[in-house]
């Protein structure tokens, strides 16, 4: 029996739709019914957690949240978990962003987490908002933080704010955490920030970016890394507050199992067809 190209195309289209349906099912099922997938936080995530944990209460920490709604699914749970941890440790939190399209998200997450922890803007944390400039801004912050941000997002003068007491520049901040969707970790904060001003840098990124950042862990230019939804789920587990990312990881795990099965199955079918099946017309 000979198979026509039209029949092959039709079969491929049907197969494609079956795969989409299976993936949809794999993603939806864990939200309806809990699955027994367990995971242990990775060392990279634990390193960042340990660093935050080691800081004394009152230590200033800078959080640069450089993402926008397109990567919210992976990065917003990280921001929530890290802010929750910092507030729980009574650290002085300074939040900013290099993405003007991400300001709304950062403001929301800051206010929500501060309200949950009973923290006050200007005293326990400050949301500096967005400033253009990228490298220039980081270099400027390294020289004079209050000059770079003379007002916070709510137009209150930063000079004299209790949260910024003793913080004149990036040199006075022992830990910076950059949660980023673009190139700001290795294109901005490592070369223009960490390597120039000497603070410890932790990072959270989308899963696509994670493999490119591994060399910076080896060279200790990064002290820890949260990679994608898994990184966010790790941090939620470490602070003992499993939420969106942990739930999402159930769906992630089931989808991975499905994809592995499909990959093996498709290869077996391919091999079978190649050696034992009918020849195409």
């Amino acid at each position: 029996m000979k198979i026509t190209p039209e029949a092959t195309l039709r079969r491929q289209e049907i197969t494609r739709r079956i795969i989409y349906a299976l993936v949809a099912l794999a993603v939806i099922t864990p939200f309806i019914h809990a699955l027994p997938f367990k995971f242990k936080p990775m060392t990279l995530s634990k390193n960042l957690y340990d660093k935050v944990e080691s800081l004394k209460p009152g230590t200033p920490v800078l959080l640069a949240l450089d993402y926008d709604p397109s990567s919210m699914a992976e990065l917003q749970p990280m921001s929530i978990a890290i802010l929750r941890h910092c507030f729980r440790r009574n650290l002085r939190v300074i939040v900013m962003t290099h993405w003007n399209t991400g300001v709304g998200l950062c403001k929301d997450v800051c206010e929500k987490m501060a309200a949950e922890a009973g923290k006050e803007s200007g005293k326990d944390y400050v949301f500096l908002g967005f400033k253009p400039g990228y490298q220039n801004l980081v270099l400027n912050m390294g020289e004079n933080l209050l000059g770079a941000f003379d007002k916070d997002f709510y137009q209150k003068p930063t000079e004299g704010m209790p949260v910024l007491e003793g913080v004149r520049s990036l040199k006075d901040i022992p830990l910076v955490i950059n949660i980023a969707a673009g190139a700001s970790i290795d294109g901005l904060w490592i070369p223009y920030g960490r390597d120039r001003f000497g603070f410890d840098l932790g990072a959270g990124c989308t899963a696509v970016m994670a493999p490119d950042l591994y060399p910076y862990l080896q060279s200790k230019q990064l002290i820890g890394l949260l990679g994608g939804l898994r990184g966010a789920a790790d941090y939620e587990t470490l602070i003992g507050k499993p939420e969106a990312a942990t739930k999402g990881m159930q769906a992630q795990s089931l989808t991975h199992v499905l994809l592995i099965v499909l990959l093996i199955g498709a290869n077996l079918v391919y091999i079978g067809r190649r050696y034992f099946g009918p020849k195409e017309a």
Binding site: E13, R16, I32, A73, I190, V208, P211, G228, K247
Partner: protein, 276 residues
């Protein structure tokens, strides 16, 4: 091979239209039941936002079945909304606080205006020059701005790039295989149980050494990759393939995460099923 759209028969088209109508009715009914709770006279602003977001999400995923006019409309809306939002935020967060407010809103006197204007004159002019790219006659003015940007970028960037991406990266790649600290941590049992971090540190350093040399050799084209050279080159290919595999795995994870984010929104916020 990319899927080729087959022209649908009239019967298939009728079934598809029926499915779309049923889906639309189900969507509207769900919105009415979930987002318009009993006893309320109208849907809240947030509820309308959730309904819109849910509808657009479902329309976007309709592309998985086939390209369709609703998807096209939603796609264009997405591009337009993103551009509009970027323009507005750029104005509100950059132009307004840095140019409009200090020059025209805040300064109460002419002296203050003159001072602010003098401070901001050069950046404003250089920024304006960039816009002259739109005119053939005056495009040459933009070269002044680009000259400054390129000159500054090279001056600041080159030493930083050499330090961060070359010197700092070479350091861990050429560390000693067995330094004093690792040697002290090793015990005869390390080799038997394979449980010692010091032993794994040595193995890790060896892997990095072999990987770096073999991959670099693969990109060395001044000699033919035959014999021993060919073997080294093949090992380099294996390292590259493993690296691409890791990147691909992470990419799959990222794309599935985006789907999970939308499904989580649909289930928890639109349908109101508050998780497990």
């Amino acid at each position: 091979m990319p899927p080729i759209e087959q022209p649908a028969s009239s019967k298939t088209r009728a079934i598809e239209i029926l499915v779309v109508v049923v889906c639309l009715a189900a969507f509207l009914l769900t919105c009415l039941l979930v987002q318009w709770p009993e006893g309320q006279s109208k849907v809240s602003a947030r509820g309308i936002g959730v309904i819109l977001a849910a509808g657009l999400t479902l329309i976007m995923y309709s592309f998985l079945y086939r390209d369709n006019p609703l998807f096209k409309a939603a796609e264009n809306l997405y591009v337009g909304a993103t551009l509009g939002y970027t323009l507005i935020t750029t104005y509100r967060l950059s132009l307004k606080p840095d140019i409009i407010d200090p020059l025209f809103i805040d300064p109460p006197t002419l002296g203050v205006f003159a001072g602010e204007f003098a401070r901001r004159f050069v950046p404003i002019v250089l920024g304006f020059f960039l816009l002259t790219r739109l005119s053939r006659k005056y495009a040459w003015l933009s070269r002044y701005s680009y000259t400054l940007m390129v000159g500054w970028g090279a001056g600041i960037g080159i030493p930083i790039v050499v330090h961060t991406f070359i010197l700092q990266q070479i350091q861990p790649a050429i560390r000693p295989l067995l330094d004093a600290e690792t040697f002290r941590a090793l015990t005869p049992f390390s080799w038997v149980t394979l449980g010692s971090p010091a032993l794994w540190s040595i193995i890790g350093t060896l892997v990095i050494l072999v990987g770096t040399v073999c991959v670099l050799f693969y990109f060395f084209f001044s000699m033919e990759h035959k014999g021993a050279g060919g073997a080294v080159s093949r090992v380099g290919i294996w390292f590259l393939m493993i690296s691409f595999g890791a990147s691909f795995g992470y990419t799959v994870m990222a794309r599935v995460s985006l789907l999970i984010g939308r499904v989580q929104f649909l289930i928890e916020e639109w349908l109101g099923i508050a998780g497990r």
